[in-house]
């Protein structure tokens, strides 16, 4: 997976969350939401800055949509407060919030044409008729729907509907746009294309996006920052790079991308390195940075599949390496995925780029191989 070249990470982009003086545009303070006995959102505190694309990422039922709906005003927090642009949103109904939302199902009005759908928000404001006309034309051009103005939603393809929904939610020039699984209903090719388009539009209009998604790849490409949610709580907030390379918990490591996880016991805990004894690997793991944990603590070492090296010859170091047998090979074009069963019985997932068109002697099924990784590649998580 190519996580480094997301379209949103242009060089001139600042990182307001690193600036202690920056004012949060959206502030969520200790917000909880309970439905009966069920806690959908559990004490979430979050700051989102102007111009960000903030992705709330998590599995279904993790509370991300509930949190988004509280921002839109469709749900009221059981506890805590939400501030948008410094204003307390408690008691402000959805139709008075400076926020627009793009719904997962798009929620296009079936009895209205594309034009009428897009114009709806402006009509509610009582904007003069000719201004509505020009702004609708502009917006329809922005989402490239010229020629479809008179169509009804059921006469459009999924991708076109998605763009109508986007145009409709942007027509009032909201400062904050909430997107609920914006690309969920599109096929893969269209998704990739639309992701870039979304980011372009976001940069052009300077809107702050809060995106809810369960698709980590979508979050990676879109987001300036990702908030990973699990069981109503935010478990980690960070840039896509941080989240992928330095997951703070096992959950995050396993949720974002693929990972090989080794359980082990800390045997040597020095400021510049840690040595972990892992029966699962059948060897000791050397990690090139210190961790703050008690000696003898049980920890987990996470290594990404693409950071592992596969070789026939044993590596020089006896640490961070184990021997196994190739059980499965999946050829993906740009890379191959190998499932390697270690002598201890544990199966590793290892990806290798396909650098050569013809390898002399390609690795094949049931071959004995060594799997290893560099001491800086592993991440230690404690919970």
């Amino acid at each position: 997976m190519n996580v480094q070249t997301g379209p949103s990470k242009s060089e001139d982009r600042k990182a307001p969350w690193t600036d202690p003086r920056a004012q949060a545009y959206v502030r969520i303070d200790d917000v909880s939401k309970k439905f009966g006995d069920f806690t959908a959102v559990d004490d979430v505190t979050l700051s989102i800055y102007r111009g960000e694309i903030f992705c709330l990422l998590g599995g279904s039922g993790c509370g991300k949509t509930t949190l988004l709906r509280m921002l839109a005003g469709f749900e009221t927090p059981t506890e805590g407060r939400i501030y948008i642009d410094g204003q307390d949103m408690a008691g402000v109904p959805p139709y008075k919030r400076p926020v627009n939302m793009m719904f997962q199902s798009y929620a296009l009005f079936p009895h209205m044409t594309v034009e009428q759908n897009v114009a709806f928000g402006l009509k509610q404001e009582g904007t003069p008729r000719d201004e509505i006309a020009t702004r609708v034309t502009e917006m329809i051009a922005l989402v490239k729907l010229q020629g479809f103005e008179k169509r009804k939603p059921h006469q459009l393809s999924g991708g076109q509907r998605q763009r109508v929904a986007l145009a409709r939610s942007l027509i009032k020039r909201p400062k904050l746009l909430l997107l609920d699984e914006p690309l969920g209903a599109l096929d893969k090719k269209l998704r990739e294309h639309t992701q870039f388009e979304l980011v372009n539009i976001q940069e052009k209009l300077g809107v702050t996006f809060v995106v809810v998604t369960h698709d980590q790849e979508e979050a990676m490409t879109l987001a300036t920052r990702i908030g990973v949610m699990n069981q109503g709580r935010i478990v980690q907030v960070g840039t896509p790079h941080d989240i992928y390379e330095f997951p703070s918990t096992r959950f995050v490591a396993e949720f974002i991308g693929n990972v090989n996880m080794f359980e082990g016991r800390v045997v040597e805990d020095e400021p510049d390195h840690v040595l972990i004894d892992s029966p699962e690997l059948g060897a000791s793991i050397y990690v090139g940075h210190g961790i703050s944990t008690a000696p003898d603590a049980i920890v987990w070492v996470a290594v990404r599949p693409e950071k592992m090296i596969l070789s026939r010859e044993p590596p020089n170091e006896k640490l961070n390496a184990a021997q196994g047998t190739i059980r499965e090979i999946a050829y993906m074009g740009d890379m191959s995925v190998y499932l390697v069963q270690l002598n201890t019985g544990k199966t590793l997932r290892i990806t290798q780029p396909n650098i050569y068109r013809h390898a002399d002697r390609p690795l094949t099924w049931d071959e004995r191989v060594w799997a290893s990784w560099h001491e800086s590649s592993a991440v230690v998580v404690t919970e």
Partner: protein
């Protein structure tokens, strides 16, 4: 392997362009032909026959053999002409019936819409209970329910007794034999026919459409007017048809609850048939009534055909 007889039938049918699926629609077809089309043709026939005051049946034949063996077809359109011209009675009765049906339909709509909306938005467990309550009156006889209204509305009925007992009024309010009582009866009797189609429409509405509308700045009232109401139009029209059409020809309720001056077309029909014994004229009234009612149905079907694409997709 099919038995030879069946195969022969199948081949025969195929030669006529019939397929197995035609069998399925044959049942309603036969039903309609037997119980609607043939009786209707008979009524049309009677409406075109001359009246015969003494005799059984009280109308003359349409066909006659002349002396030189020609078949003579005599169509008597006088019955229709009488409806329009000579006597204003029929025209008045027609207009009055349409007015009563229209007013009743509007009141049914105003009462039924909030009820249907409430049921459609209730929790699923409540929904069935509420629907049951709507349908429950059907379990007792229609006539019994109309008579019950007499018990409520008459001068020494429940309502007047309670009001006088509380000292709000000194003399009973006359409600029986008035238009008011008739409207109460019609609206009450036909309300379920309005609620059910409205409910089945409203229940299918996607609530996120309303959320989208409020999110775009529409107040709840505007969201209702711009989204829910237009999308519920098929239900409104279906319910209005179901109330309006039978209400035009309503006979029992005006007779039992309405005043003697409330001359609805159903009553005129009754009088023509049983008092004046003028079957041909009564038939002419019936045919005209049918034409008046078929027209709105056709308009409705047109509307539905045009809208179905847009509404079916949510």
């Amino acid at each position: 392997m099919q038995p030879p007889a069946l195969q022969w039938c199948a081949e025969r049918a195929q030669r006529w362009g019939l397929r197995g699926r035609h069998l399925v629609i044959a049942v309603p077809w036969i039903w309609l032909v037997l119980f609607f089309l043939i009786p209707f043709v008979i009524v049309v026939k009677i409406s075109l026959a001359p009246s015969v005051f003494v005799g059984q049946p009280p109308y003359g034949p349409l066909f006659e053999w002349t002396k030189d063996h020609y078949l003579l077809l005599k169509l008597n359109i006088q019955n229709y002409l009488d409806l329009g011209g000579k006597d204003a009675l029929y025209l008045e009765a027609f207009l009055y019936s349409l007015k009563v049906a229209a007013v009743s339909t509007v009141f049914c709509l105003l009462i039924a819409y909030p009820m249907a909306y409430g049921i459609a938005r209730a929790t699923p467990s409540w929904r069935n209970t509420l629907l049951l309550l709507v349908v429950l009156p059907f379990w007792t006889s229609f006539l019994v329910r109309v008579y019950a209204w007499i018990g409520l509305l008459r001068n020494n009925g429940l309502i007047n007794n309670v009001l006088m007992g509380l000292g709000i009024i000194d003399e009973p309010i006359v409600m029986m034999q008035t238009d008011f009582a008739m409207y109460v009866g019609i609206v009450y009797s036909y309300l379920p026919f309005m609620i059910l189609p409205l409910y089945s429409n409203l229940e299918k509405h996607d609530v996120t459409l309303l959320e989208a509308a409020t999110d775009l700045g529409a107040t709840p009232v505007r969201a209702f007017l711009r989204i829910t109401l237009p999308l519920s139009m098929p239900g409104v029209i279906a319910g209005s048809m179901l109330v309006f059409i039978p209400a035009v020809g309503e006979f029992v309720i005006p007779r039992l609850l309405g005043g003697t001056d409330s001359l609805m077309i159903g009553r005129v029909l009754w009088d023509e048939f049983f008092t004046a014994r003028s079957w041909p004229r009564a038939s002419a009234v019936a045919v005209l009534l049918l034409l008046v009612l078929v027209l709105p149905i056709m308009i409705f079907q047109r509307y539905q055909a045009r809208e179905s694409g847009g509404v079916a997709h949510r």
